[in-house]
């Protein structure tokens, strides 16, 4: 519950402050969002499974964002930025999808 409130507070904060993202970081923003969504859905599922762990959640978020960002950065330097971004999105997308499916099964028993 606190987590949801914090999430909403974060959204409001982001809208109110409307910080300008430096140009160098802009390509990483969408990937960071996808990585963050993966961590969020993983956390929600763990919560519903009754095995949520704060440390695991925090670390998985930070590492997800950093690794995803690093892969995109590496891809840019190697000239395969688009392809590697696609790879990251596919892998994280599969995980998000699987976790959402698990959440759905738990909530609706279907």
């Amino acid at each position: 519950m606190i987590a949801v409130l914090a999430l909403i507070a974060g959204v409001v904060l982001g809208v109110v402050l409307n910080p300008t993202v430096p140009d160098a970081l802009q390509p990483y923003l969408p990937i960071a969002v996808v990585a963050a969504l993966d961590a969020v859905f993983g956390g929600v599922r763990a919560k519903l499974d009754g095995i949520f762990d704060d440390k695991q959640f925090v670390i998985s978020f930070i590492s997800n964002v950093l690794v995803a960002g690093f892969i995109v950065y590496l891809g840019d330097k190697l000239g395969v930025g688009v392809q590697l971004s696609t790879g990251v999105v596919v892998v994280l997308g599969v995980r998000i999808f699987g976790n959402v499916a698990a959440i759905r099964r738990r909530l609706f028993k279907a």
Partner: protein
């Protein structure tokens, strides 16, 4: 957190009680079958074995979670705002480009008209300076080379892409098709030809640039109307050519269904071609001093 109802989901990955995780070789199967981070189950087991952590540690970690949630919220909001902020810029660029194109097209039309007016003026002035036989000859030559507007009876050959031109490459009209048809028309006695209102001269290329067909420098789009003025038997002669035969076959081909029509038309009017840049003719150099130069020298040089 409900420590009481820890349930471990069935995991295909074998996890020995020692806590040592054994990584399955097939990472993709693992990813699809159980997308949850293995850390959660491990942490749950550790908690069960060691008992709950001291509450101070628990609350610190809970604090981190709250901070991370807030960060994720900010991230979502910022990413959303970024996308929103960039959309109008793209739309603006697009409209600007469209406006630019329209303006340039209008400019070109205006310049075309200006060129036509000036050409008329030049023709008038030239006719004042020349005698009747010279004018007659000039007119004939200009009509033949495409530099003068001509009217008369003739045929209009219409070529069009087949219905499945988007997928079938052969169902598309190419520059080659227009070249073949115009050549056949010339061979059938045509005296003047225009394609989609663009008059051909003896040096007007019909070619492809990208996916568009160019007549000279003007690009045209289908259906292509090749209008030719010529003798009354031109249509029959054209229909007898191998080219016309080939295109009739292509029209009747069930896969291609190219558009191909030959119509006899009266009172066709073909516009003058855009004056081609002179490649070999040039303004005569002023003659050496003392020699009288003809007063008809276009540049008036030496006078």
């Amino acid at each position: 957190m409900s420590d009481g109802r820890d349930r471990e989901p069935e995991r295909p990955v074998s996890t020995p009680p020692s806590g040592q995780r054994v990584w399955q070789t097939d990472m993709l199967t693992d990813l699809f079958q159980d997308p949850l981070d293995g850390g959660y189950t491990d942490a749950a087991r550790a908690r069960r074995e060691r008992g709950p952590l001291p509450s101070a540690t628990r609350w610190t970690r809970r604090g981190f979670t709250v901070v991370v949630c807030a960060v994720i919220g900010v991230l979502l909001a910022v990413a959303y705002l970024q996308v929103i902020a960039r959309a109008p810029a793209r739309a603006t660029t697009r409209t600007e480009l469209i406006k630019d194109i329209n303006r340039r097209t209008a400019d070109t039309d205006k310049l075309d008209q200006q060129a036509e007016t000036l050409q008329d003026e030049v023709n008038g002035l030239r006719e004042q300076a020349l005698d009747d036989t010279a004018i007659g000859r000039l007119r004939e030559l200009e009509a033949a080379t495409g530099l003068r507007k001509v009217s008369g009876d003739g045929v209009v050959v219409t070529l069009a892409d087949g219905p499945n031109a988007a997928t079938e490459r052969l169902a598309r009209i190419l520059d080659l098709d227009l070249q073949l048809v115009t050549n056949a028309l010339w061979a059938s006695g045509a005296e003047a030809i225009s394609v989609n209102g663009r008059r051909l001269t003896s040096v007007t290329p019909i070619r492809t640039a990208g996916s568009a067909i160019l007549i000279g420098n003007a690009h045209i789009i289908g259906p292509y109307q090749v209008a030719a003025i010529g003798p009354s038997d031109m249509a029959d002669r054209f229909n007898d050519t191998g080219t016309a035969d080939t295109y009739r076959k292509l029209r009747d081909d069930k896969n291609l269904e190219l558009g191909f029509d030959v119509d006899e038309k009266n009172d066709l009017e073909l516009p003058a071609a855009v004056m081609p840049r002179l490649q070999f003719a040039h303004v005569p150099q002023p003659s050496p001093a003392g020699t009288p130069t003809p007063s008809t020298s276009p540049s008036g040089g030496g006078k």
